[in-house]
Subunit: 472 residues, 2 copies
């Protein structure tokens, strides 16, 4: 029943199912040049940003519309062969890996913004639309889509992993921001969940069941999300602290006061040092808090004053405030560069990334010990946190060819997650379970809840063709 | 496949299952005086605020803890007899009615506030805690639970129906505010969904699957919800308009601007007249908008100015502003009395209540025609709306002994829902499906989505013992 913990199984198991020639022929007939079995294309669709490697999918179909998706799924269902949705490949937990072989359905060409309903603050898109493309498309309306996981991910991928990122502390995650879906089920039927109404009590919440299901229950072909008026005023700030504890405690107090902060991000001193080297910056090498405030001019001013007072109490240094977009971009450089600076600080490395999220009052307990453990182990790492949500990431930098480094990183991850769960938190705030956190899911929710998830999976996908081998 | 529309089936069908003597005996042995089969007790547990009547449940168990619930469910599962959770009986759509007989599990004695985690802005309660009790319990922390459906409903019932009410426009519904649950499944297992972390991507969103499932998938025995800091400043206002259109258009513009209004409620002129008679008030008998603003003193002042300017543009009259709790209570009297004033305006009547919710830009289209149709039909009615969410209720007042009045009310309801669905809305913004909206659910979501709901129900409750005969 219990999935093995990662750390004991460092390489995902590969159990390919037979890919019948007849299926490949049928796909070729139906899709022509939209189908590829070229090695290089398959390999592009068989990896994500995780540190796992398995053989690539057997074939890739470039879907151009819902009917294409329906037809791939119906053929796959007929032959009981897996289908795996692919957006831009920016997921972090092995979600896209073809651990049972099968067909990758690339939705990159399904990149139409279908309906901008500015007067209702909603937009409907195809799953291959990326978040930057979406924001470009709605720019002229004075509205924006706030969810920003860092990568220019596809909206389909973000919905499938229940993504969030830097703005979630104010605007919520994909859980709160997806209103309605068109979904192709495991039998190739097209269903609709939700409406454009802001709230509903109409039966089971299939929308939120699909959001975060990582392609295992159905394949999203249309996604309706909420938009927000661009704030009248925006103010950003960076503050440096002598200790990580001061930065974390500043965050905790800001959140507990109910300040409607729009972003609240943390880098530890090690990460600031890495970013300084990478981007040739001269930032003070202490723990750094990056904040952003949205609202009316007076509202933002009020928020800024409260935040500054709280940071002052915790010995904040070197405040810098920025009003204009250009100044803000400059201040946020450190945050935007952190992931790449981290990964590039050790040539040839891969990052093993953690994603714990805890109740805000437990953030110091969860975060400080995890950073100390990483430092004591001597492993190279970087650390960034959406700390306003109680969510933080350690990136342990390993040589993928050295099993002992991977083992050490997974041991640190294991200790970190165990601590977060003991503090009432979750093993994954925003990345999803994928392959990497299957064991932790059982620890977190218990066997009973996982059994319920399995029962739902079995009911909706009895032949287990929708992205099999993930989550549990 | 399609459930019959209400309006063609005015009285719910009653298909009782056998209640074996052996089960009654086993319940008596296990529960002693916690079990009742007295007619008056059973009748109290066999009705809600809907206009339906069916025979009462066969027995009532007053559960005092999770183990009691487990033991009832296990016995019921053994004999394949229905169990129906009962909070305070304030649901509106026949959710509690024992249409297949069985055991009502009254959770009213499970009314402990289990853990107030003020520093994390969360509280964990048993399902029988009411929203007023919850707010009393957390008062000293400076926090509050904003969801207010009018009735002093139980938190369990509110979660089961995905309730919302007057504050949802700012704070969201039970969908956004339930973080974690303890649930007794159909086989009598106890599972946990979610954690106290603010966000999570850990597998299927069982929490939100349970929220709004109306007792058909499991029985909630612990509920963790979000709390919010009491706003520093609160300002309330009433404004009167010559036309309903002006009031609705004021609302639409306020929402489209992104003003973070905390409550935005509408009464039409007919309803204001009814309230005046009921509470001996002297309110201007036009369409009335009731608003409330939460925030810092300066923030509230800004919001008030914007709202007033928008209302002025739409010819708002007789503004009254209130700062103190006492003044606010006075202003809100009209809204608080609307339901009871409505029902009592026609002696002996029952209200058939509608609950459509539409995208905000379509609110005039949905609401104005519905009010006109009611007026033209000559049926007595009242109308209240959580219009900031695009949600409004017509209460058609019928003599329950006159089938032709019920038929007329259901015809009006049918036209109203059909219109709301055509405008991209939902048949139920906050009441749930229960018995009353089963036909509309198919119209709204399509047969495919309902089939998916059925498949989930079948997987999690194969013997169909959890509140059977509801939703679909």
């Amino acid at each position: 029943m219990n999935a093995p913990h990662v750390g004991t199984h460092l390489v995902p198991e590969f159990h390919p199912r037979a890919m019948p020639i007849a299926l490949l022929e049928a796909l070729k007939t139906r899709f022509g040049t939209q189908l590829s079995t070229a090695q290089v294309i398959r390999e592009q669709h068989g990896r994500d940003e995780s540190a796992f490697t398995v053989p690539p999918p057997d074939a890739v179909v470039f879907a151009e519309n819902t009917q294409d998706v329906v037809d791939v799924v119906k053929l796959a269902a007929q032959y009981k062969v897996p289908v795996i949705p692919f957006g831009v490949g920016s997921s972090l937990e092995g979600h896209l890996l073809a651990v049972q072989g099968g067909i990758s359905i690339d939705v990159g060409r399904m990149n139409q913004v279908l309906a901008i309903n500015a007067e209702d603050l909603t937009v409907t898109v195809q799953p291959g639309v990326t978040r930057k493309q979406l924001n470009d498309a709605v720019k002229s309306t004075g509205l924006f889509f706030p969810i920003d996981p860092g990568a220019d991910a596809s909206i389909g991928g973000m919905a499938a992993t229940r993504a969030s990122g830097t703005n979630a502390v104010r605007y919520g995650t994909m859980r709160e921001n997806v209103l309605a879906l068109e979904v192709v089920t495991a039998s190739g039927e097209v269903i609709r969940t939700g409406t454009r109404a802001k709230k509903s009590s109409a039966g089971y919440d299939l929308t939120r069941l699909m959001v975060g299901s990582e392609g295992t229950l159905g394949l999203m072909t249309e996604i309706t999300v909420k938009l927000y008026p661009l704030p009248e005023a925006v103010m950003a700030a960076i503050v440096s602290f002598d200790t990580l504890a001061d930065a974390v405690n500043t965050t905790i107090q800001i959140i507990q006061m109910g300040l409607p902060i729009a972003r609240c991000e943390l880098l530890d001193a090690t990460t600031v040092r890495i970013v300084n080297q990478y981007a040739k910056l001269d930032l003070r090498e202490g723990a750094m808090l990056l904040m952003e405030f949205h609202g009316s001019p007076a509202g933002v001013q009020e928020q800024v004053e409260v935040a500054q007072a709280i940071a002052d109490e915790h010995h904040g240094h070197a405040f810098e405030w920025a009003k204009t977009p250009e100044e803000r971009t400059r201040l946020w450089t450190a945050r935007h560069n952190a992931y790449f600076a981290g990964v590039q600080s050790v040539p040839g490395c891969k990052a093993i990334t953690t994603d714990a999220c805890v109740p805000i009052s437990r953030l110091s307990d969860a975060l400080l010990d995890s950073v100390t453990e990483a430092q004591q182990s001597g492993i190279p790492y970087f650390m960034v946190g959406h700390v306003g949500d109680g969510n933080f990431h350690m990136g342990y930098l390993i040589d993928p060819n050295k099993p002992e480094e991977r083992e050490l990183a997974e041991q640190l991850n294991h200790r970190l997650v165990t601590r977060a769960l003991a503090l009432g938190g979750t093993c994954t705030g925003e990345h999803g379970v994928g392959l990497h956190k299957m064991g932790f899911l059982v620890d977190e929710t218990g066997a009973g809840a996982v059994a319920m998830m399995r029962a739902i999976k079995q009911a909706l996908d009895p032949d287990n063709i929708m992205n099999p081998g993930k989550i549990f």
